[in-house]
Amino acid sequence: MSYPAVIKPQDLLCPKPGGLYCPPGDFYIDPVRPVDRAVITHGHSDHARAGHDTVLATPQTLAIMAERYGEDFARQRQAVAYGETVTHNGVEVSLVPAGHVLGSAQAVVRWKGLTIVVSGDYKRRRDPTCARFEPVPCDVFVTEATFGLPVFRHPDDKGEIAALLKSVEQFPERAHIVGAYALGKAQRVIALLREAGWDRTIHVHGAMERLNRLYEAHGVDLGPLAPATVERGKTGDFAGSIIVAPPSALADRWSRRFPDPVDCFASGWMRVRARARQRGVELPLIISDHADWDELTDTLSELRPGEVWITHGREEALERWCELEGIPARALRLVGYDEEDGE
């Protein structure tokens, strides 16, 4: 005599040292070490690594990985467009927009009537460079918690861009260098500047040029761009201009070519003044590609999943919030995902 087996979520997805693993489907989601079969949510280097045998991701994410790691980043690619569903060993996988960066997706995993959504990194607000987050009803919602503290409430990005443009007007003799993560943030800042009416040439650091071209090939118009290079010994050309560079370049000798630069940094971490001060940032721009506290909690209130799993970030505060709201939650304590100072 046998009872019908009750399927537990852990049977469908469980944390392993290599990442989040699906036993019936035999695949990993965003694994941190090389595996046979990987589902990749988005192109940031801590989620998308080279060396897997087969990679399933959106076409945009596959293109980003090929751009970053070379065409041989995996033996085999499986492109899955938003909304498309593939079945592997009886497990259905579909990719739904996560609103984080170009091509970013939530992995929706279904098996025997059970639905788990692995959101990857996500944000809820509008971003002109990528598709907007779509909520999917589910039994288990797997969330990040990068900005999982009530102090992180990102303001409207229009206001931040306006502050940048005002500063450019106030200090026409100086160059404004915006530190921005090379994938996603940089293109978003440029696109937001264009929406705010800034139509002059924006100078970009060499490390961003390829990704900028990739975004443009995917239909994101970035307007006139030029490399931030100078002839030896000259500086004056950049007075009054906006330059976008990876955050690490702000402190680098590279930035010396610009006249009395105003260091700006586009990041959710800039919400806390001590963080800005620590990095010597003169104009913090609170622009984040991650959900802030309100987005994280509003998403959970909206979805009301049976259970919440927290992958990385400030788990304890989000766990506490779930406890107060009566939503079962647990921290997976996955390792290998950066808190990403540069986001």
């Binding site: 102090v151 702000l250 930035s255």
Partner: protein, 534 residues
């Protein structure tokens, strides 16, 4: 409130003086009365609110959110006002955002009991930056790196007038300064500075260039006196108002009630504030015990009694002496001080001399007593009128040569603005034997100027090439007996300090020379410094 909040936000992260001036001037130009006036009052420290005590804020926020979540937030941010500003839950349908002037006027008019509800209502209506600004305003002390002098300079820039004119009217005007802005914008006459006890902008001296200046100057044209090592003050007693000002016009009367009590005259004296015991002056370290205190107790005043060594007279009774030559003012000063019934105010004596060589000998080898701890000499043209600012020619300061030590670079920190990609702030140390007899470096000071831009590039390269560890913007640099970069450090004086591990603190340290040639092990010992203690 929004514009004010943005101003504070930017000022708090801006290091360059010129950039700060631009930010303040733009704000004053773009903001209407009376908001800009109250903002100026906040920046110059002219506002205080008795009704608004910040203690209730923490309770108020905990009533609105989970205490554990608040505790984690506070732990992460580290600053209570900033934490509250960030976590305060938005209240849909709250009132419109208050203007700065509404906040200031309401707080001034309200009782403590009512203040709480008012403030909570404002916190509901403001955004995070606005809440931060409001909380900073309430707790006093904005701490955004703006001195009242800098704020006044921004006003001067706004109106295209010399800052002396602002300082002269400052103590006759009140927030929100409608009359000041009307004058600066050319809509009315300058406000009358004729308030009793007002500040008079001071006259400053140029540093003498020994190689160039002396051959052009005649000894007979100049008076000489010691340059005392205290702080420059202006002591005013006029129609019953007694005030003590710093040279930038900050009113420090409340810190020195003992001196204020001694201003038993009608006039305005220019002199040096010093700690004086039985007619002899004490070191600057003693005076420091009395500076920057809001209140002062009897014990401190008894242990460190303050007084004034007078060297000029600006107002004698009702008569303004500033247009008279120094020789005449000096005679009036001598008679004035002679009449005073106090020992807390004495006269800075003139030093007679025939030749510059003779004066140089005096400077190099001052007699025992007060002159031995003077900073050097002052030269004043006998015919000089009292002219605000720093005119070239009438007054010179001739400081004693600085102390020099050879120290080893230990830590370097990135600078700001133009220097933000350079390691430009240097902590240096000297050798000390530890308990086991090993020679170890102990930090003795920090300097960020004294080198050229070319030298900065070379030091920066040295720091990057020899980094041992990084802590945020700071790098520790390899420094041991066999390897290290030696700086010849110049400084003005040395005091005992319990705040520094080495037990000594330097005044005005700067890099005098970079000793690329000198082996680190040959840098100075701490014992050498200890012998230089004031």
């Amino acid at each position: 409130m929004r514009a004010f909040a943005h101003l504070l936000d930017r000022l708090s992260l801006t290091a360059s003086r010129n950039a700060k001036l631009t930010l303040i001037e733009d704000f004053l130009r773009g903001t209407a009365d009376p908001d800009r006036g109250y903002a100026l009052a906040a920046l110059t420290g002219a506002l205080s609110f008795d009704a608004a005590k910040p203690a209730f804020i923490r309770k108020a926020v905990e009533a609105r959110m989970d205490a554990q979540l608040f505790a984690w937030s506070y732990d992460y941010v580290g600053d209570l006002a900033e934490t509250v500003a960030l976590v305060w839950p938005a209240k849909p349908g709250a009132n419109r955002e208050p203007e700065l002037s509404e906040v200031v006027e309401a707080l001034k008019a309200t009782s403590r009991a009512q203040a709480q509800a008012l403030i909570e209502g404002w916190l509901d209506a403001l955004d995070a930056d606005g809440r931060w600004a409001l909380l900073k305003l309430m707790t006093g002390g904005l701490r955004v790196g703006v001195s009242s002098r800098l704020a006044k300079q921004a006003c001067a820039n706004l109106g295209g007038v010399p800052i002396g004119e602002i300082e002269e009217v400052w103590h006759a005007i009140e927030p929100p300064y409608g009359d000041l802005f009307a004058w600066l914008e050319g809509r009315s006459e300058r406000p009358s500075p004729d308030a009793p006890g007002r500040f008079r902008p001071v006259m400053l001296a140029q540093a003498i260039d020994e190689a160039v200046d002396f051959e052009k100057l005649k000894p007979a044209d100049y008076a000489a006196e010691w340059k005392w090592d205290g702080i420059r003050v202006q002591a005013v007693s006029e129609r019953g108002e007694r005030r003590l000002y710093t040279r930038t016009g900050d009113d420090i009367s409340a810190t020195f009630p003992d001196v204020l009590e001694a201003l038993d005259f009608e006039g305005a004296l220019d002199g040096e504030l010093l700690v004086m015991r039985g007619g002899a002056i004490a070191s600057f370290g003693d005076l420091q015990q009395r500076l920057n205190r809001k209140t002062v107790d009897a014990r401190l005043m008894a242990v460190h009694p303050a007084g004034i060594r007078a060297y000029d007279l600006l107002l004698d009774g009702q008569e303004d002496l500033r247009g008279l030559p120094f020789a005449q003012r000096r005679r009036r000063l001598e008679a004035f001080v002679d009449r005073l019934p106090t020992t807390r105010i004495d006269l800075s004596p003139l030093q007679s001399f025939e030749t510059w060589e003779g004066l140089a000998a005096l400077r190099a080898d001052p007699p025992e007593g007060d002159p031995a701890i003077a900073e050097g000499l002052m030269l004043k043209r006998w015919d000089s009128v009292y002219e605000p600012g720093r005119p070239k020619g009438p007054w010179f300061k001739w400081k004693r040569d600085p102390h020099l030590v050879d120290a080893v670079l230990m830590y370097a920190q990135r600078g700001h603005g133009k220097r933000s990609s350079f390691y430009s702030d240097y902590t240096f140390g000297v050798w000390r034997q530890d308990e086991t007899g090993d020679r170890k470096l102990t930090p003795v000071g920090k300097a960020y100027f004294g080198f050229t831009d070319e030298e900065l590039k070379l030091i920066d390269k040295f720091v990057r090439d020899n980094t041992v560890e990084r802590f945020g913007p700071v790098r520790s640099v390899r420094a041991d007996l066999d390897f290290g970069l030696v700086f010849e450090v110049a400084f003005e004086g040395l005091q005992r300090s319990t705040r520094h591990k080495s037990g000594v603190a330097m005044r005005f340290p700067r890099i005098n020379r970079i000793r690329w040639d000198k082996p680190a092990r040959e840098a100075d010992e701490l014992s050498t410094l200890e012998r230089m203690l004031d």
